[in-house]
């Protein structure tokens, strides 16, 4: 059994644990060995002692009758979630060696469900990036091709799941940071509706956009993780007050009028024409359309819709997110935690030197943009105008959802690019976020679902977006596609 344990997804491993054909300790040991031998730079910390102790505890709990589907299942956390047991860096020199006095709510809830954390996963510094090249601790490499990026900012999470170091990992998505790396590495990821997962203990980038979610190898596995991660938390002022949700049950819920051959009968999938521009890479467009054809065979109907402000969402996002980031990151002043310069004069000099030494170039750029657009004389023209446009973008989605139940398109305009390919041109990277930003600005739930391989044998992701709180509909559609096809089962050559 031990030789194939890394190939099992969350649900499969849960069944093997329930059937006593393996133990959490055996699975944890097998995956720890893979994590320690990993050459993709996915893990920042492998926490062997804590993982084995948690696995032992999980096995004991199972012995006494606990049967939670995540009990004893090894996972790992994006290093943007604070954890008491391991250091938390957010991919930044600013937080080198930082030890949180508490666990993030998402971490605590997965722990309470019995999931075993193997450690912390690399990410772009403060989750700012789309390639995981902005980590102070080195880039992450794509398991499908080590010369390419895994996407970002949850690049370590995506690479760890794709390389079968863990069956699932946590991630966060501000402008596409779960969906885009999932797409680039051929795994399944979901960003829920804003407010579904608590942001408490998730190091803040842009508070009105940040959401946590899982990356895993199937929609079913994502549903199991999301059920455990989500739910009201009084410690997050924007947490949505509602009862706990069973996303796995929602995923299994048959649609009215569905049949065995046509599980998606009656489902209307809207295709915004702006998501299929003439310039879209042919391999991406081809794979996305082929996956949509499969969904049609399962009973879904495709309808043409429009999101006319898709392109505008790039400047709108890159005004709002840096504005919130500049405010959030002002807490790093070298006083209460984080880096303090060794040499400085007065207090102002200490602030400036500490921050300038410890923040990387992309973080500095976004702090500068944010500070400028919030400054006296520019606030109305930039920040306020962006927020008004944000309402227009959200309203455009509501108009679309009059005509369809889900919206589909590519996650990214291309497959994963080569490390270093974008050089010193941040705007080029911003433009590649075009298809994930609209849903983020509106706060809608979205998924990346594997849709086969494109240029260079690299994975292509199908993006599915739902209306607010339609996670069940999204997961149901993705699950139906995955039951009928094997796109999600394709693996990188070891």
């Amino acid at each position: 059994m031990s030789a194939q344990l890394h190939t099992l997804g969350v649900a499969e491993l849960g069944r093997a644990l329930a059937a006593k054909s393996t133990s959490s300790v055996e699975a944890t040991q097998a995956l720890l060995a893979r994590a320690k031998a990993d050459t993709h730079g996915a893990f920042l910390v492998v926490d062997e002692d804590a993982a084995l102790a948690a696995a032992k505890a999980a096995d004991a709990k199972r012995g006494s009758g606990d049967a939670h589907p995540l009990l004893g299942v090894p996972i790992a956390h994006k290093d943007i979630f604070v954890t008491q047991e391991s250091a938390t860096t957010a991919g930044s020199k600013m937080l080198e060696g930082y030890r949180s006095p508490f666990d993030a709510t998402v971490v605590a809830r997965l722990k309470a469900a019995g999931a075993v954390s193997l450690g912390k996963l690399n990410c772009d510094e403060f989750a700012m990036g789309s390639a995981n090249e902005n980590s102070a601790y080195g880039p992450v490499r794509n398991p499908w091709d080590a010369t390419r990026v895994p996407g970002g900012s949850s690049g370590g999470s995506a690479a760890a799941v794709a390389a079968q170091l863990v069956p699932a990992a946590t991630g966060t998505d501000t402008g596409g940071s779960i969906r885009q790396p999932a797409s680039f590495t051929g795994v399944t990821g979901i960003k829920p509706t804003y407010g579904v997962c608590s942001r408490f203990g998730m190091i803040a980038f842009a508070s009105s956009l940040d959401q946590a979610g899982p990356l895993a190898r199937s929609a079913e596995d994502c549903a199991l993780l999301l059920s455990a991660m989500s739910g009201f938390d009084e410690r997050d002022a924007t947490s949505v007050q509602r009862p706990p949700q069973d996303f796995h049950a929602q995923m299994l819920q048959a649609r009215a009028g569905a049949t065995a051959a046509q599980p998606l009968k009656g489902l209307r999938i809207g295709l915004p024409k702006e998501f299929f521009p003439a310039a879209l890479a042919a391999d991406v467009s081809g794979r996305v359309r082929a996956a949509l054809t499969e969904m049609e065979k399962l009973g879904a109907t495709l309808v043409d819709v429009s999101l006319p402000r898709t392109e505008l969402s790039i400047p709108v996002y890159y005004i709002i997110a840096p504005a919130e980031a500049s405010s959030n990151l002002s807490r790093f002043d070298g006083v209460r935690y984080g880096h303090r310069a060794a040499q400085y004069g007065d207090l102002m000099d200490m602030y400036k030197k500490s921050r300038s030494e410890a923040f990387g170039p992309e973080v500095k750029r976004r702090i500068m943009i944010g500070t400028y657009v919030l400054s006296h004389g520019y606030y109305d023209a930039y920040y306020l105008q962006a927020q008004k446009l944000r309402r227009m973008i959200a309203d455009d989605f509501q108009a679309c959802f009059q005509q369809c139940d889900l919206i589909a398109g590519p996650v990214a305009p291309t497959v994963a690019w080569k490390l270093g390919e974008q050089g010193d041109d941040p705007v080029k990277a911003y433009l590649a976020d075009i298809f994930t930003l609209p849903g983020s600005l509106a706060g809608l739930p979205g998924m990346s679902v594997p849709a086969g391989l494109g240029e260079g044998g690299m994975p292509v992701g199908l993006q599915l977006l739902g209306n607010y709180f339609a996670e069940g509909t999204l997961l149901h559609a993705a699950h139906a596609l995955q039951l009928a096809t094997d796109f999600h089962l394709q693996r990188p050559r070891a």
Partner: protein
């Protein structure tokens, strides 16, 4: 109007960042490149629209939740200050501010 080197220095000061001359010059180019894609925003008529501060207010009123004004945390001062670069007797140390 493109940002000048003086604008970049002023913003860096507001952001409490110190940029080397090379960093400042690269930052100026990159910010000006970025604000070229921002220009399209100003062409859109948004008069009469309410800004969207938080996403769920797109579909309804989002009320700020208040909790009872009661002590809920225990004193965890030592653990909470363990990451401070410099502290003494439960206080954070900073350079002298008042002469």
């Amino acid at each position: 109007m493109p940002l000048s080197p003086e604008d970049v220095s002023r913003i860096a000061h507001l952001a409490r960042l110190e940029l080397s001359p090379a960093e400042g010059s690269a930052m100026q180019t990159q910010l000006n490149d970025f604000f070229k894609i921002v220009e399209q925003m100003s062409a859109v008529d948004t008069s009469g629209l309410e800004p969207l501060h938080t996403p769920l207010s797109a579909i309804g009123n989002v009320e700020l939740r208040l909790r009872p004004d009661a002590v809920t945390e225990t004193n965890n001062r030592e653990a909470n200050m363990a990451n401070a670069p410099a502290s003494e007797e439960g206080l954070f140390l900073v350079p002298k501010v008042i002469e």
